[in-house]
């Protein structure tokens, strides 16, 4: 699973310079190049990779803000607490990464014998 940290780093760089959906492309390119053995492994790597990037940064920002804004946004969204909001954030990042990486890996598979 060496490609997970690779995806984390690429996704973070992409997300800083490009729109939010660029993490899908980043994960896809890594999936295409690194070529995980199975599509399930590719999905898992992308899921964990982008999920890690999103969770690390969201948790850091939330920590330095002492949870103030997350609590308010959770209230606006009628969520029970900010932990739920953080979980949803991470889940969305993970799904984007998982599908992105899997799609990239499946593209590679077409050209493999």
């Amino acid at each position: 699973m060496k490609i997970t940290p690779l995806i984390t780093i690429t996704a973070a760089i992409a997300a800083w310079f490009f729109p939010w959906w660029s993490v899908v492309i980043a994960a896809g390119i890594i999936g295409l190049i690194a070529n995980p053995k199975t599509s399930a492994l590719a999905y898992a790597a992308g899921f964990a990779g982008v999920g890690l990037a999103w969770s690390a940064y969201a948790l850091f920002l939330n920590f330095q803000n002492q949870g103030l804004l997350a609590g308010k946004i959770a209230t606006i969204f009628h969520l029970p607490n900010s932990t739920t909001l953080i979980s949803i954030t991470i889940l969305i990042g993970s799904l984007l990464g998982g599908f992105g990486c899997m799609t990239g890996a499946l593209l590679r598979k077409i050209f493999e014998k």
Binding site: A12, A15, W16, P19, W20, W21, V23, V24, G28, S39, W54, Y57, A58, L61, N62, Q64, N65, Q66, L68, L69, A70, K72, I73, T75, I76, F77, L85, I88, T89, I92, G93, L95, L96, F99, G100, M102, T103, L106, L107, K109, I110
Partner: protein, 841 residues
């Protein structure tokens, strides 16, 4: 091979679908969107974009100490500018010329308050539907019929001919735009992300709109229609009794007995109709039938009570022998706060104070020579005129026995994700027909309003910010027209003064108190009171000047004016205290600003208690009575007596004015001022107004008091049970500071603080002291204190957003840092310094 392609395509499709769904607001999605239409979920932002920690709302989760960039390069800047942020994030701007000063003021203000600036100007312009969709249409229509944009456009045009204020407004606008252009989605204020829209370029029109919005907030409440209704149904005598021109015992701004050293101008004496309008002697045009089925209120007046206090004491009354000036404007309590603290320094200017984000300069503040503060004059400058169209085309209307052409202004209201709404507003020479097809008689009412005229208030503040003495202050004020304010003044020469400054129509008696006849030239405003005749006083014998929205003058003043709510209590309490006090210190005046003495209760409760007999009450009611009897009339936050009084008073008011609040014809009317009601209760307890119309019995005050009291006791018990709280005054009043878009999570409710409207500490449920300032000139320089209920940073995600609120609620102050030289500041005296550099091309 085929299966591989299929698998890839499937995965790609799922991925694309995921990105598509997460990139749209749920309400905008195909199929699902239509089903969500009326649910709040439709308004959710695009989740992928919004929750992305690298760009979405998480980026607005600021650290307690914000990161401010030490260097910023800006085009259009002419020379380097230094901005020192102190520990409360107050920017102290040091520029080398005026252009750069206002440019950087615009840039910095926008960097902390952009969303508020744009939202407020959108609201003033009637463009809220662009943000919130169809919910905003009615509000927008009303705003456009009021003609604030029409007024702001006129102001921009007039500014173009001015060489002092116009460059400042332009530089400020450029500065705001420099900030907007530096933004990407990542650093947009969180409200834009939440409501999924983007800021548009700032314009000088927006500065003008903000000025007109203040005119609307402070002169927009006109009760002409309600007065006319009452006069029509109950007779002119009732209107005179209930809405008197002057109530005895009033303590005006200009001390009673002051001589008027000018020859008054007569209101167009050669026009008999003006003196005796429209051929009837009641003072209003006889356009309404006596049965009164004519006017319902087009929209409820929901603005909370706004007002203000200011005063200045001279050296004869202070411990230091130098003057002290105080001001606290009472406005709607909102977040981000209406005020933003700033110090502006450039050659010829070093001023500190607060400003409304969106306009250049300082509105309330001080420099090293003078200090000034404002309260609202509240004089009626907004009149309603009936308009008779020739036919349904509305191309012509009746005027002076002939027909005059109308102008039509097409208002296109853009509505988010819906087609535009078009509204045509008819303009007469008097102003816009703000109310159309109104009441069973289908009447059209045109609005003539001083706020519609172009006037250069920006110039007043530009000059006032640089004023060095009384002459400069007077000169600065001469440009000021609307919204009329009482400008209190103190300077280092030891002078104190107050001017009620504005441009007021020269009226015949009661002109504009009732609805006027738009076809009769005699009912129009003929001229204005000369500015030099506006009420003012320099260095009065009593050693202080003060104002608190009361009558400016005693009845000897030779001009007619009226307002629908002259203050009767706060001002008398302030003047009584200032009269008593001696060797005054800053601390004394801070305590006076936070004074919770309820003079209205002190004068009304004894009258109310006359009719309560303990032997007729049960034990819990007797306990309540004792609470009131023992009360010291202080509206302190933790006491229960003020809550009981308030409930008792409101019940009694409702019972007395059943002829106003419980009309079978649902005609809109307003209550008399509380002081009028209390006077009536005291002197005429058998007055016909005490009778409850819906019962056969003839009630007097005696019959109303006990039920009102018994109900109040029950109200309090119910309230406590419902809210699971003790009915202390602070809880019962429930002061709330609400986010401008009314987002609860960004608001603060149930602030624990005392006071109320009509009390010096005028903190009510939704309005209150929006900036408390005390400025003392001492031998060692300026000692200034201030606080407002909010924080400099308008980001609800920053701890700084409500930083000052707790101290404000307790009546505490911050010492204000008035810097003279940014280079002599030592570490620890400030938070950070940003150097702004021009970009050389």
């Amino acid at each position: 091979m085929v299966s591989k392609i299929l698998r890839f395509t499937g995965s790609l499709l799922v991925t694309c679908a995921l990105v598509f769904v997460l990139g749209k607001q749920p309400g905008q999605l195909p199929v699902v969107g239509a089903k969500l239409q009326n649910s709040p979920a439709a308004m959710l932002p695009p989740l992928g974009k919004f929750l992305n920690p690298f760009g979405g709302f998480w980026q607005n989760a600021e650290a307690p100490i914000p990161v401010i960039s030490p260097k910023t390069a800006l085009e259009k800047l002419q020379a380097p500018v230094k901005v020192v942020f102190d520990d409360r994030l107050v920017p102290h701007i040091f520029a080398q010329n005026n252009h750069d000063l206002y440019f950087v003021q615009g840039y910095i203000t926008a960097s902390m308050r952009l969303w508020q600036m744009e939202f407020q100007t959108h609201a003033a312009a009637g463009r809220i539907s662009e943000i919130v969709g169809s919910r905003g249409i009615e509000f927008d229509k009303e705003q456009r019929r009021k003609g604030l944009t029409y007024a702001a456009e006129k102001l921009v045009q007039m500014l173009g001919t001015d060489t002092i204020a116009d460059p400042a407004v332009h530089a400020y606008t450029d500065g705001v735009n420099a900030y907007i252009n530096s933004l990407s989605y990542r650093n947009l204020p969180v409200e834009y992300k939440l409501m999924n829209y983007e800021p548009e370029p700032w314009t000088t029109l927006k500065c003008a709109l903000l000025q007109k919005k203040m005119a609307d907030d402070l002169t927009g409440n006109s009760a002409d229609i309600e007065y006319t209704n009452l006069a029509t149904v109950m007779g002119k005598e009732a209107a005179t009794l209930l809405y008197p021109q002057y109530l005895d015992g009033q303590d005006p701004i200009i001390p009673p007995g002051t001589k008027w050293n000018f020859t008054p101008v007569k209101p167009s004496g050669n026009n008999p109709a003006t003196a005796q309008p429209a051929a009837n002697k009641t003072g209003f045009a006889p356009v309404f039938p006596a049965n009164g089925h004519s006017l319902q209120l087009p929209q409820p007046e929901t603005e909370p009570t706004v007002g203000s206090n200011n005063w200045a004491v001279n050296g004869s009354k202070t411990l230091s022998g130098k003057p002290i000036l105080c001001n606290d404007p009472h406005l709607q309590l909102n977040l981000p706060s209406i005020w933003f603290e700033t110090q502006l320094t450039a050659p010829g200017i070093n001023v500190y104070g607060v400003t409304i984000p969106g306009g250049p300069g300082i509105v309330i503040g001080f420099n090293d020579h003078i200090a000034w503060g404002v309260t609202n004059a509240g004089i009626d400058v907004k009149d309603w005129y009936t308009v008779t169209y020739k036919d349904s085309l509305k191309n012509e209307y009746k005027y002076n026995n002939s027909w005059k052409k109308t102008e039509k202004r097409i208002e296109t209201i853009k509505v988010r994700s819906l087609p535009d709404v078009i509204d045509t507003v008819i303009y007469t020479h008097l102003g816009p027909v703000a109310v159309e097809n109104y009441g069973p008689q289908k009447q059209n009412l045109a609005l003539h309003w001083k706020a519609h005229d172009a006037s250069n208030e920006f110039k007043t503040f530009y000059l006032l910010n640089r004023a060095k003495n009384y002459t400069d202050y007077e000169q600065a004020l001469s440009y000021y027209e609307c919204p009329a304010q009482n400008f209190a003044f103190a300077d280092t020469d030891g002078d104190i003064a107050i001017w009620q400054q504005g441009k007021f129509p020269l009226r015949y008696k009661e002109q504009g108190k009732f609805v006027l006849d738009g076809s009769n030239p005699a009912d129009e405003w003929q001229a204005y009171i000369p500015t030099a005749h506006n009420p003012h006083i320099l260095n009065p014998k009593r050693g202080f000047v003060s104002s608190a929205n009361q009558h400016p003058t005693d009845p000897t003043y030779p001009y007619y004016y009226q307002a629908n709510d002259f203050e009767y209590y706060r001002n008398r309490r302030i003047n009584r205290r200032l009269q008593e006090m001696d060797s005054i210190t800053v601390k004394d005046l801070q305590q006076l600003q936070f004074d919770n003495y309820n003079l209205q209760a002190a004068e009304s409760l004894p009258v109310m208690l006359r009719y309560l007999k303990p032997e007729e009450l049960d034990s819990s009611q007797q306990a309540g009575l004792q609470t009131l009897q023992k009360w010291d009339f202080m509206n302190n936050p933790d006491d229960s007596a003020p809550a009981l009084y308030e409930a008792f008073w409101q019940n009694l008011l409702t019972a007395i004015w059943d002829e106003i609040n419980n009309r079978p014809d649902s005609l809109a009317m307003v209550y008399p001022e509380n002081a009028v009601t209390i006077r009536l209760m005291d002197k005429q307890p058998d007055s016909k107004y005490m009778d409850i119309a819906s019962t056969p019995e003839k009630e007097t005050l005696k019959d109303l008091v006990k039920p009102a009291f018994v109900k109040a006791i029950a109200n309090i018990v119910e309230w406590s049970a419902k809210n699971q709280q003790l009915a202390t005054w602070a809880n019962y009043k429930g002061t709330s500071v609400m986010h401008l878009a009314r987002i609860d999570a960004f608001s603060v409710k149930n602030v624990q603080t005392g006071g109320n409207y009509g009390i010096v500490n005028a903190t009510g449920k939704r309005a209150g002291p929006s900036w408390r300032m005390v400025v003392a000139y001492t031998k060692n320089g300026i000692e200034a204190y201030g606080i407002y209920p909010g924080g400099q940073n308008g980001n609800p995600g920053s701890p700084n957003y409500t930083q000052f609120l707790d101290k404000w609620a307790k009546g505490e102050y911050y010492s204000l840092n008035y810097y003279t030289n940014p280079d002599s500041l030592k570490a620890g005296q400030f938070l950070s310094i940003t150097e702004f550099e021009p970009i050389k091309k």
